[in-house]
C-alpha cells in the first residue's frame, strides 16, 4: 500500500470486533467439524513487509496443506488456511475417524482432500459471514482449492496476485490449535488495498449498531 491509509479509532474498534467475532465463529465451526475443541488465538491485524509474508506460516520452506479461497463480491481478497503436514493428517484422522497414518506423507487421498477442503470451506466461510454481517458488504468465497507445497510458494503466489504496490501487505492472521494433540494452523486474509479500505470504512460505519462483542 503506497498511500497512507488513515483509520479512525471507531473504524479500528469495528474492524477488531468483526475479525474477533469472525475468528470465534470460525473456531466454533472447526471444532464442530472435527468433534474436538480447537482454540483460536486472538487474531492479529498486521501490516507486514512483503519480504516477510512467505515466512509467516512456519518458514518459507515449511511444507503445508493449504486451502485457498478467492473472495469476490463487494471486495476482492484472498484467504489461505494452512496446516502443517502432521496437523493436516491428524485433522483428517479426526474427521474421517481413522488412523492418520504417516504424519509426514505428502499425499492425501481423495476422501482426505475432500475432508480438508470442506473443513476449510466451513471455517473460512464462518469468518467471512461475520465480516459480512458486521460490514453489510457482500463477501462471496470461491470453492476451496487444496495445495500441498512450500508455505512460502503458496503465500507469495497469492501475494503476487494482489499486485503489491508498496512494500507492505495487510494480513489478518490467527494461529489455532488443540490442547494436547497439537493441530496447528494459520489463517490468512489478504485483501487488496482497495478492499481493505472498503472493509474498514464499512466496519467503522456499522460498528455502532452492533451489540455483540467478542471480548
Amino acid at each position: 500500500m503506497s498511500k497512507a491509509f488513515v483509520i479512525t479509532r471507531a473504524q479500528y474498534r469495528g474492524a477488531r470486533r468483526a475479525v474477533a467475532d469472525g475468528i470465534r465463529r470460525a473456531g466454533q465451526s472447526l471444532s464442530t467439524m472435527v468433534g474436538r475443541e480447537i482454540s483460536m488465538g486472538s487474531p492479529a491485524i498486521k501490516v507486514v513487509p512483503l519480504r516477510n509474508v512467505p515466512g509467516l506460516a512456519g518458514g518459507p520452506e515449511a511444507i503445508v496443506a493449504a486451502a485457498y479461497l478467492g473472495i469476490s463480491g463487494d471486495v476482492a481478497a484472498h484467504m489461505v488456511l494452512c496446516f502443517d503436514l502432521p496437523s493436516a493428517h491428524k485433522l483428517v484422522g479426526f474427521l474421517l475417524e481413522k488412523d492418520p497414518g504417516d504424519l509426514n506423507a505428502l499425499e492425501f487421498d481423495f476422501m482426505s482432500r475432500s475432508a480438508l477442503s470442506e473443513t476449510s470451506n466451513v471455517t473460512c466461510s464462518s469468518l467471512l459471514n461475520a465480516l459480512s454481517d458486521h460490514s453489510g458488504l457482500v463477501i462471496r468465497p470461491s470453492i476451496p482449492v487444496l495445495v500441498v507445497d512450500m508455505a512460502g510458494a503458496i503465500l507469495s503466489a497469492v501475494l503476487a496476485e494482489l499486485g503489491p504496490a508498496g512494500d507492505e501487505a495487510m494480513v489478518i492472521e490467527t494461529v489455532f490449535g488443540q490442547a494436547g494433540e497439537a493441530v496447528n494452523g494459520h489463517l490468512f486474509l489478504l485483501p487488496s488495498p482497495e478492499a481493505l479500505e472498503t472493509i474498514i470504512s464499512h466496519l467503522g460505519a456499522n460498528a455502532s449498531c452492533l451489540t455483540e462483542s467478542s471480548r
Binding site: S2, L50, R51, N52, V53, P54, G55, G59, P60, E61, I63, Y68, G70, S72, A76, L106, S142, I143, V145, V147, V148, D149, M150, A151, G152, A153, I154, L155, S156, A157, V158, L159, A160, E161, G163, P164, A165, D167
Partner: protein, 165 residues
C-alpha cells in the same frame, strides 16, 4: 559447503563475490529467481522477481529493487558489472514461475508465473544476456540455491528430486 547464506526475499537482489556465500531464494511460487554468474571474476547475483511489470508506471521506482522483471534484470546486470563482471561472460539461470493455484474467480487467470517467465526472458534478451539453464513452470514451489564459488545452481522442490542447473 559454503557457510554463509544470504536469503533473497521477495523483490530483493544481491550480488556477492565471496566464495563462501550461497544466495538462496526460498519458496518460489509464481515468482522467478534469476541467478547471473560471471565465472571469470567468480561473482554472482540473484534477484527474486515478483511481477512481470509495473502497472501504471508514474510512481517513484526507487526502493522497488527487483520486484518487477524488467528493472530486476537491468539492476542485477549493472551491479554485476560494477563488481567487475562483463555481460558477454555472464551465465544466466532461472527457476520458478509456477502456477500453484488455478480456479476461475471472476475470470481471473492465475497466469502471473507464466507472465513472469516471459518478462524475464524478454528483459534478458534486451540486456544481451543468454539464458543457459532454466527450471520453470509447472504447479509446484521451488527453492533456488546459487553457490558463488562455482556458479552452481540447485533447485529443490517438495516431492521431486533436487535438480542441478
Amino acid at each position: 559447503m559454503s557457510d554463509r547464506i544470504i536469503a533473497i526475499g521477495l523483490g530483493e537482489l544481491n550480488v556477492s563475490g565471496d566464495p563462501e556465500t550461497t544466495l538462496v531464494a526460498y519458496g518460489l511460487g509464481s515468482c522467478v529467481g534469476v541467478a547471473i554468474y560471471d565465472p571469470q571474476v567468480r561473482t554472482g547475483g540473484m534477484a527474486h522477481v515478483v511481477l512481470p511489470e509495473r502497472v501504471g508506471g508514474s510512481q517513484d521506482d526507487s526502493g522497488v529493487g527487483a520486484r518487477y522483471a524488467d528493472m530486476a534484470i537491468d539492476r542485477l546486470a549493472t551491479e554485476l558489472e560494477r563488481a567487475g563482471g562483463t555481460r558477454p561472460r555472464m551465465v544466466v539461470k532461472i527457476a520458478g514461475g509456477a502456477q500453484l493455484l488455478s480456479l476461475p474467480l471472476n475470470g481471473h487467470r492465475w497466469d502471473i508465473g507464466e507472465r513472469n517467465i516471459v518478462a524475464v526472458k524478454r528483459a534478458l534478451s534486451r540486456n544481451g544476456l543468454i539464458l543457459a539453464a532454466y527450471e520453470v513452470g509447472g504447479s509446484y514451489g521451488r527453492t533456488m540455491r546459487f553457490q558463488v564459488r562455482d556458479g552452481r545452481v540447485t533447485v529443490s522442490t517438495v516431492g521431486h528430486s533436487e535438480m542441478i542447473l
